[in-house]
């Protein structure tokens, strides 16, 4: 009778023992696998937690190194602006998830047919034909990173945010949308109206002409923070009359006003870059400051990571604690398997003695034990893959619906890890617990038994 056959017969005959070892291996590997999956989910969630601090850095024109010239009573600073090329160069760096820069303008609101629409009125002190229709428009790369939205002063409650790819789009306030029954997907116009042009011409601007641009409303925001001193504000200063648009729209609108266009072309005063992992902020910033195509004498970089700095140590504590707990679980699981296998093999001293006495080599006896366990382990490990997947998913949905089953996921690499380490532990456990028995002569073994 060869060794594999003996192993198989043992496993089949001693059904209850086999079942017991199978169940124990299944439980322990399921526990370990679930633990590893939860550890992965913890890492992801911790990264999300850090990301939620909205850490960014700001690139700004350096007025300290600017040329200053006096014009009347005011100083005029001459300094390079931040260009689109610079922004693109920086945005390419790994770890930067987005950026925002904005330009302001005060275009007038019109319906699609070109009729002027009066904006939201708070006081009637400003009964001025020029200001009546004006809005405060921001041309923005990415409104989701705009400080008005990140500080929760405004909340987007319909539609979507403007991104760098958008052209001729707008996000307007709930109040403005209600007043003119504007819905997401509707078209409106912004204009340099005849009245506005007339006033500018009076002031001495010669090359300016009437223009209007049609935009699609892609989002509507709610104002969640009350503006102070409302009665003292000009109509366009009211939050209700704030409008977010894209850069393309601005360029189109101001194409008939060279002075405004020039301002648009020169670039941005400052740009905010948002990072995925705040822990990487300083390395990303140093990488940015090494970009050779930008003259860094003319710009400054400032980190905006107060929130992260304040909570970083507590956040890392949460992560470390959970990770430690799971490491303890994995280590203890391994210990338990080792203990149980020792128990298992110790009870077979008599059998080992008999086998040795009939002349079967120690090596073959060891192999038999290994094969027995291997047959059981293959099934146990295999089943544990599905069992842990089910446990992780179900418990996740029972405890809180916000954790989707997909969040705690049993990955193949973790499964391979558990199988490999599990096999190693089993081999070691069999090896170690066999040493004393193997050293003995068959006669010693048999005589030692009670």
């Amino acid at each position: 009778m060869n060794t594999p056959k003996r192993s198989l017969l043992y496993v089949i005959r001693k059904r209850s023992r086999t079942l017991l070892l199978f169940v124990i291996l299944l439980i322990v590997s399921t526990l370990t696998l679930s633990g590893l999956s939860i550890m992965d989910a913890t890492k992801d969630t911790s990264a999300e937690l850090r990301e939620s601090t909205g850490t960014s850095f700001t690139m700004e024109r350096n007025l300290g190194t600017a040329t200053r010239s006096n014009s009347g009573n005011n100083f005029v600073y001459q300094q390079e602006f931040i260009t689109d090329e610079m922004i693109e160069e920086i945005a390419k760096i790994d770890g930067i998830k987005g950026y925002n820069a904005k330009k302001e303008g005060l275009p007038d609101l019109q319906d699609v047919n070109g009729n002027n629409l009066e904006t939201i009125v708070y006081t009637n002190w400003y009964d001025d034909p020029i200001l009546k229709y004006s809005t405060k428009a921001f041309a923005s790369f990415n409104t989701s990173y705009d400080s008005l939205f990140t500080s929760n002063k405004f909340e987007l409650n319909e539609g979507r945010h403007i991104t760098a790819e958008d052209e001729n789009t707008a996000i307007i306030s709930n109040d403005l949308a209600k007043k003119y029954n504007i819905k997401v997907g509707d078209k409106i116009k912004f204009a340099l109206t005849e009245e506005f042009v007339a006033v500018e011409k009076e002031k001495g601007t010669s090359d300016i002409s009437v223009n209007d641009v049609e935009v699609e409303v892609i989002g509507i925001f709610n104002i969640s923070s009350e503006q102070s001193d409302k009665q003292a504000l000009a109509q366009y200063e009211l939050y209700e009359n704030y409008v977010f648009t894209d850069i393309t729209f601005f360029k189109k609108l101001y194409s008939t006003w060279p002075l405004g266009m020039e301002e648009l072309k020169e670039g941005y005063e400052s740009v905010d870059f948002f990072v995925t992992d705040p822990a990487q902020l300083s390395s990303i910033m140093s990488e940015v400051s090494n970009i050779s195509s930008i003259n860094w004498d003319n710009f400054t970089l400032t980190a905006n990571d107060e929130v992260f700095q304040q909570s970083a140590s507590s956040m890392s504590n949460v992560e470390k604690l959970i990770t430690t707990m799971l490491i303890v679980v994995v280590v203890i699981s391994a210990t338990i398997v080792t203990l149980i296998l020792s128990m298992w093999l110790k009870s077979r001293v008599r059998e080992t003695g008999i086998l040795m006495a009939v002349g079967i080599s120690k090596y073959k006896i060891l192999l038999q034990h290994v094969l027995e366990v291997a047959v059981i382990a293959v099934f146990a490990f295999g089943l544990s893959y599905f069992a842990s997947g089910m446990i992780a998913g179900n418990l996740g949905s029972i405890l809180d619906s916000s954790i989707s089953a997909g969040n705690v996921m049993v990955t193949v690499s973790n499964f391979i890890l558990v199988c490999a380490v599990g096999t190693l532990i089993l081999l070691l456990a069999i090896g170690i617990s066999s040493i004393p028995v193997m050293r003995m002569k068959p006669r010693e073994i048999l005589s030692k038994m009670s």
Partner: protein
């Protein structure tokens, strides 16, 4: 030989087997105890994250007609979970006069239009317990040039802009009058209660006023800061000093709702007319991730406990079933079933008591090591430097400028210890019962013949 003696002999004779069982019990109870300790510590760590993110709300009681008195602020500060009530203030407009009743000049250039009727000599009036905490000084770049800030206990004082001082020839130590008129308030035949204030400080603005198109009375240059007593006197002489706004800082932003709910039970204030604005953006952003982390820990602990129970039950069953032969012999010798059962339980309990006791030590050591080597016991520093309490009466001046975090303690609590001991004993008794019942049902002869 009674069952206890038999159990003792079995345990001491079969040293190897006893040691093995001891280790299994030790390891499992250590595992559960450690997990419990870490779980509690994780809750504290999450609380620390929330505390360091901070949360507060602005109480706007402007429309309550002066009901937000110092007395009410005291009651708010006493609500559990409130860190402090800060920056109690009011704002309105006032007309400025010299002590001999002549109107003072205000700046008009830079304003969008001429003065509004009644506001020809008026400006913005800010009332603060501590003027250095006013938004103008903290956020909008106002700086004190001369004199000192308004502080707790000041009465009949004012801070004025340097341009306003120059325009009217006022210097630190001079006095002028804050007044109101019927046109401003839109009340006919209004009888004002003017207040004489002493200039104790002169400030300037370091940033340009953002809103260029202002009416004259909102210009920075025409803004005057005064103390809450003078403010109250001006608007409603004889009343208890009141505030329009206050910042309420809470320790744990997750408790904002409950603090506000409790605040609204304070009597004497028309809470329907007041307005609360939360400042908890950082917490709101982090909330979901934090809760998910907490849930992950719960999942892990549930899995660990269930698995431990099943594992222990299995091992014990295996343990008792290995003794069928012995059981049969005892039964054939006429020992009672209960007696045999008790022997098995006693054997395991002898080992278990030692293992459970030691598990307290091992898990404490693990917990302590985790605490010492892993965790950063730091208090988050904030930029806040002011260490003064900002209401006239509320709270104690104890804030050090650092967020007070709860100390992170990883220790084995008595309740968890008790839980593990009771649960462990229960599992032992049940496992032995389950394993022995089928054996006990058999006749001794059957048992002995069924053994291969």
């Amino acid at each position: 030989m009674d069952f206890l003696k038999r159990a003792f002999l079995q345990t001491t004779r079969k040293k190897g087997k006893s040691l093995l069982l001891f280790f299994v019990l030790l390891v499992i109870s250590t595992l559960i105890l450690t997990c419990f300790a870490i779980r509690s510590a994780t809750d504290t760590a999450a609380l620390n994250v929330r505390e360091s993110l901070g949360g507060s709300f602005t109480l706007n009681a402007k429309r309550t007609d002066g009901q937000l008195t110092g007395h009410v602020l005291d009651q708010i500060a006493a609500i559990p979970g409130v860190e402090k009530v800060d920056n109690a203030r009011s704002e309105s407009y006032a007309e400025y006069k010299s002590t001999d009743g002549m109107s003072l000049e205000v700046k008009t250039e830079g304003a969008l239009m001429g003065a509004i009727d009644g506001f020809e000599h008026a400006g913005k009036l800010q009332s603060n317990v501590y003027s250095e905490k006013d938004e103008f000084f903290t956020d909008k770049g106002f700086e004190l040039l001369e004199g000192r800030h308004i502080t707790k206990g000041d009465e009949n004082v004012a801070l004025i802009h340097e341009d306003f001082a120059e325009l009217n020839g006022l210097a630190v130590g001079d006095t002028f009058i804050l007044d109101l008129n019927g046109q401003m308030l839109e009340i006919e035949n209004y009888e004002s209660t003017p207040v004489t204030v002493e200039v104790i400080g002169i400030y300037t603005n370091t940033e340009e006023q953002e809103v260029a198109e202002n009416v004259t009375y909102t210009l920075y240059e025409n803004t005057v800061f005064t103390d809450p007593t003078s403010f109250t006197q001006l608007f409603d002489a004889g009343r208890e000093t009141y505030y329009s706004y206050a910042e309420v800082l809470v320790n744990d932003p997750a408790k904002l709702d409950s603090v506000v709910a409790e605040m609204k039970t304070i009597e004497g204030v028309d809470w329907d007319a007041s307005n609360v604005t939360y400042h908890d953006t950082d917490y709101q952003n982090a909330k979901e991730s934090l809760e998910t982390l907490g849930n992950l820990v719960s999942i892990a602990v549930v899995i660990i406990i269930v698995v431990s129970i099943v594992l222990l039950a299995l091992i014990l069953t295996l343990w008792v079933r290995g003794r069928i032969h012995e059981t049969g012999v005892f039964m054939s010798m006429g020992f009672g079933k209960v007696n045999i059962f008790m022997q098995h339980v006693a054997e395991i309990m002898l080992v278990a008591i030692l293992a459970f006791a030691l598990s307290f030590a091992t898990s404490s050591i693990i917990a302590q090591n985790v605490g010492n080597t892993l965790l950063e016991q730091t208090t988050a520093q904030t930029e806040e430097t002011a260490d003064t309490d900002n209401t006239e009466t509320a709270g104690t001046p104890d804030s050090t400028g650092a967020v007070n975090l709860t100390e992170l303690n990883i220790s084995i609590s008595p309740i968890h210890l008790l839980f593990v001991y009771v649960l462990g004993t229960l599992i032992i008794v049940l496992s032995v019962a389950i394993a022995t019942i089928p054996i006990m049902k058999m006749k001794p002869k059957e048992i002995l013949s069924s053994i291969s």
